[in-house]
């Protein structure tokens, strides 16, 4: 029987003829917080993009199941509407597209998929303002273009804002902490905890321990050359701080 949350079973991913993810398994239960750590080029971003349905990444083996339904036959839109969200490491610029109407279209697509009434403009603006306050963002920010001309930190805040709007079932954050200052990291950690409390399963991909000082993951996974090589509690993350990925994988 399938469980709720995200189940990644023995997943293999290829891109440009190379196998990057090699039989990876990972389960993220609703409300749990996981961390995936590993050196550059070990397959973290490939895993993320393959899960969300990027056309350049081919899943050649294994399965991905979200709340009992396989995602493999679904396209990117369908996977997103099923409740899987990736906060991108390098969010893409959409010149000329204003943040506010973009977000309204996004959140309403999700609401319609969940058989909820779409937000009217005024309902949406109220809701958006509240969430922007939670993230300590100025309301004028919503008048700018999506990621276009935004600083690294602003892009990451926008990804977080979308996560709060969408309220995904499973949220994967690919290096959400890069580009954020310490105050912003505290805010992001606090919001992630709230999301988890509300039932979102969370996978935090990071190189650094900074974010984990404010958010204790339930489970830490170490990935090396496309495979999970170690798993443990938060103490594993602390151990990684002191030693190297290479060393830890041979323990």
């Amino acid at each position: 029987m399938s469980k709720a949350g995200l189940e990644i079973n023995n997943l293999t991913v290829e891109t440009e003829g190379k196998i990057i993810v090699k039989g990876l398994s990972l389960n993220i239960a609703p409300g749990s917080i996981h961390t995936l750590m590993g050196p550059n080029g070990c397959g973290k971003s490939t895993l993320c993009l393959a899960l969300t349905g990027h056309p350049h990444y081919t899943i050649t083996g294994g399965n991905v199941v979200l709340n009992g339904k396989s995602l493999l036959a679904q396209n990117a839109t369908e996977r997103a509407l099923s409740g899987l969200m990736l906060a991108w490491q390098h969010p893409i610029s959409l010149p000329g597209i204003k943040i506010s109407p973009f977000l309204r279209q996004v959140v309403n697509a999700h609401r319609v998929a969940r058989h909820e009434n779409p937000y009217s403009v005024s309902e949406f603006i109220q809701h958006l303002r509240r969430l922007m306050q939670q993230l300590d963002m100025k309301t004028t920010f919503a008048q700018r273009s999506v990621n276009d001309g935004l600083s690294g930190g602003e892009k990451k805040r926008l990804e977080m804002l979308m996560a709060l709007l969408i309220e995904p079932k499973v949220l994967i954050l690919d290096e959400i902490d890069s580009g954020l200052d310490i105050d912003a990291i505290k805010i992001v950690a606090q919001q992630l905890k709230l999301l988890a409390k509300a039932g979102t399963g969370i996978l935090i991909i990071t190189h650094y321990h900074r974010l984990l000082d404010y958010i204790k993951p339930d489970r830490v996974h170490v990935i090396l050359e496309g495979q999970i090589v170690r798993e443990g509690g938060n103490e594993l993350a602390l151990e990684l701080e002191r030693t190297s990925y290479e060393a830890i994988s041979h323990v």
Binding site: L81, M85, P91, L94, I97, Q105, V106
Partner: protein, 444 residues
């Protein structure tokens, strides 16, 4: 209803002028222009003009004998058309004055009292010829002479309707005027003539909208627009052309800017079978400037040959040309532009930026820029780029839960946003709607 028989001869020209009870001056202008029209060869550049058969066109068609100053006076059938286009509603909400032309003649023209009190003249061009002959004769044909090109000659010979605006010295029109052009008959030629004079230190914003229903027979729209911006005047001319896909839209639009004057063209071309239109500004006075935004969208069976021309004839003049084009479903867009700096014009600045977006492999985009600089002190920049909707942008939007079609439309709208933001809100909304209609089914 009154109409001339198909085809064009000297007697057609006499008939139109006679029917309008025009002065001898005008008739002679028309006849001279007719001779020029017959002599001039069809342009061999731009789009394919060979299907145009001048003998199969009705050159003058008056659908109704009444012209209203209230919409009630406009015959129901015609009023319904403009109602559906939302013209009377817009007039109430956000325009200073509105004109409506149906086939060859104006059927409605009204300027709100508060603006009339300031001495502004806003009339259809036929009425202006009769009521204000002094201003009319002084400026008519001075910016676009009949000798300019074959279609300018044709227009001068058979013109009917159009807009005439005069804004007195120092008067600032803070809200826009609009005229809406509609071709409803088959095989029809619409040849309106527009003349705008902004006197010293005045400002005016004028909007032109165009539509036609779809018939199997092609129609011709060959308008001439002349703008005179006198010292320190400011004129903005906005066009949203959404002709049906069987209209040849061959329009000559030109402005002269005197010292310190600014002319802005915002030229949006969505419809028509073939458009050849290059709004121009002649900067004849010191410190004058031109700002031209050109938007062209070509879908199946359409060729938008659009662009801009700026001729710098005086010192310290500046110009900016921004062109955005989108070709999809096998459509074709061309940017054709000219920037010329005369030898006596010192310290000229000009910047041209052309961005083309190709939606698929069957569509086409070309750029034909001409730059002639005869003065060493000029700074002239030209930048051109052709792009496709990036897969990454599309995927990013899709991975947030938007379907491919919505994502595509959104990215296209983002591409033209720098131009759309200059449009009145009503037009911006309409444009976005039209684009999503054109995009429908374009995503495989």
């Amino acid at each position: 209803m009154y109409k001339t028989t198909k085809g064009l001869t000297k007697s057609t020209v006499r008939e139109i002028s006679g029917y309008k009870s025009e002065s001898k001056w005008m008739l002679e202008k028309r006849l001279a222009a007719y001779t020029i029209f017959k002599q001039k060869k069809m342009p061999r550049w731009g789009g394919d003009l060979s299907p145009i058969n001048f003998d199969q066109i009705t050159y003058y068609l008056k659908a109704t004998s009444t012209k209203g100053r209230t919409w009630k006076e406009v015959p129901t059938k015609i009023r319904d058309t403009f109602d559906k286009l939302g013209i009377p509603e817009s007039e109430k909400r956000w325009l200073a004055g509105v004109g409506a032309q149906y086939e060859s003649e104006s059927v409605y023209h009204e300027l709100k009292q508060e603006w009339r009190d300031l001495g502004i003249i806003f009339e259809d061009t036929d009425t202006a010829l009769k009521k204000y002959p002094d201003i009319f004769l002084k400026y008519f044909g001075t910016v676009v002479p009949a000798t300019d090109n074959k279609f300018a000659a044709l227009n001068t010979a058979v013109w009917s309707g159009g807009t005439f605006i005069y804004v007195p010295k120092g008067v600032q029109m803070t809200i826009p005027l609009q005229n809406y052009f509609r071709i409803n008959a088959k095989g029809m030629g619409q040849f309106e003539r527009t003349l705008i004079i902004a006197d010293e230190g005045s400002s005016v914003s004028y909007i032109e909208g165009c539509t036609a229903p779809v018939y199997s027979t092609d129609s011709l729209h060959a308008a001439v627009v002349e703008i005179i911006a006198l010292k320190n005047a400011r004129v903005r001319y906005t066009t949203i052309q959404n002709w049906s896909n069987n209209i040849y839209n061959l329009v000559t639009k030109r402005a002269v800017a005197h010292a310190g004057a600014t002319v802005e063209w915002i030229d949006g071309n969505l419809g028509s079978k073939l458009t050849m239109k290059y709004p121009s500004v002649y900067l004849i006075g010191k410190n004058s400037s031109a700002d031209i935004l050109s938007l062209a969208i070509a879908a199946k069976g359409q060729h938008q040959d659009a662009g801009a021309k700026v001729v710098h004839l005086a010192s310290d003049t500046s110009s900016v040309i921004t062109s955005k084009s989108i070709s999809g479903n096998g459509g074709r867009t061309s940017y054709r532009g000219l920037v010329e700096v005369s030898s006596r014009a010192q310290r000229v600045h000009s910047r041209v930026k052309c961005d083309a977006l190709l939606l698929d492999e069957h569509s086409r985009s070309d750029t034909y820029p001409t730059i002639r600089v005869k003065n060493q002190t000029a700074s002239v920049e030209h930048e051109a780029a052709v792009s496709k909707i990036s897969e990454e942008q599309l995927f990013y939007a899709e991975s947030r839960g938007l379907d491919a079609e919505t994502a595509n439309t959104m990215i296209v709208n983002g591409f033209i946003e720098p131009i759309v933001k200059e449009l009145p809100m009503e037009y911006a909304v309409e444009l976005n709607r039209l684009i999503s209609m054109q995009m429908e089914g374009s995503v495989g």
